[in-house]
Symmetry: C2
Subunit: 117 residues, 2 copies
Amino acid sequence: MATNIYDIAYTLQNALKEQPEFQSLQALYKQVLSDPVAKPLFTEFQNFQMTLQQKMMQGQQITQQESAQAQALFTKVSQNPLIAQLMQTEQRLNTVIQDLNKIIMKPLEDLYTGINQ
Amino acid sequence: MATNIYDIAYTLQNALKEQPEFQSLQALYKQVLSDPVAKPLFTEFQNFQMTLQQKMMQGQQITQQESAQAQALFTKVSQNPLIAQLMQTEQRLNTVIQDLNKIIMKPLEDLYTGINQ
Ligand SMILES: [Ca+2]
Ligand SMILES: [Ca+2]
């Protein structure tokens, strides 16, 4: 018999918590935030990213200057080994999450693809 | 022991296919697309929506005229009982999917919330 769909989602939530990429990311965040060099760099980068995201969500254009500033800041934080490792781990976790989403949303994708053909 | 995370995602995919909201949406799409009155209305609405979405994704502003046109078209298609039922069902399914996403992404949300506090 069918299990409740939300129970399956909770099972997936627990599996995500146990996923090596998630466990590593959690550990790396703690390390970054307790590192006197990495922490201020990381905070500066996060704040700048958030400002740009808010601008984009409000439909405002990102200026060339802001884009160059983002690139320079990214290069700077990437040179910190801890932050570089954190960003690589985050990227790997994002890939896992994208793959999960593709699997889960396949029925809807098929439905909409069928319609437009 | 832990089940593979992708296996759990496939279990969720199957549960989504069996979900009443998904089954209804699938049936309603078939009905709309075989209805000589609903089909052209629905296609017109979908095409217009897609045009607006593409503009927004390209960072272009939606004009007041386009916004008014979208509203008028929405009112027109909503008066077709089949399309109205389809849109309500789609809304209910979106709510289910949003709830699933909230559950699955909770560990990440907690991680990022912890960081910024
Ligand atoms: Ca297609
Ligand atoms: Ca917070």
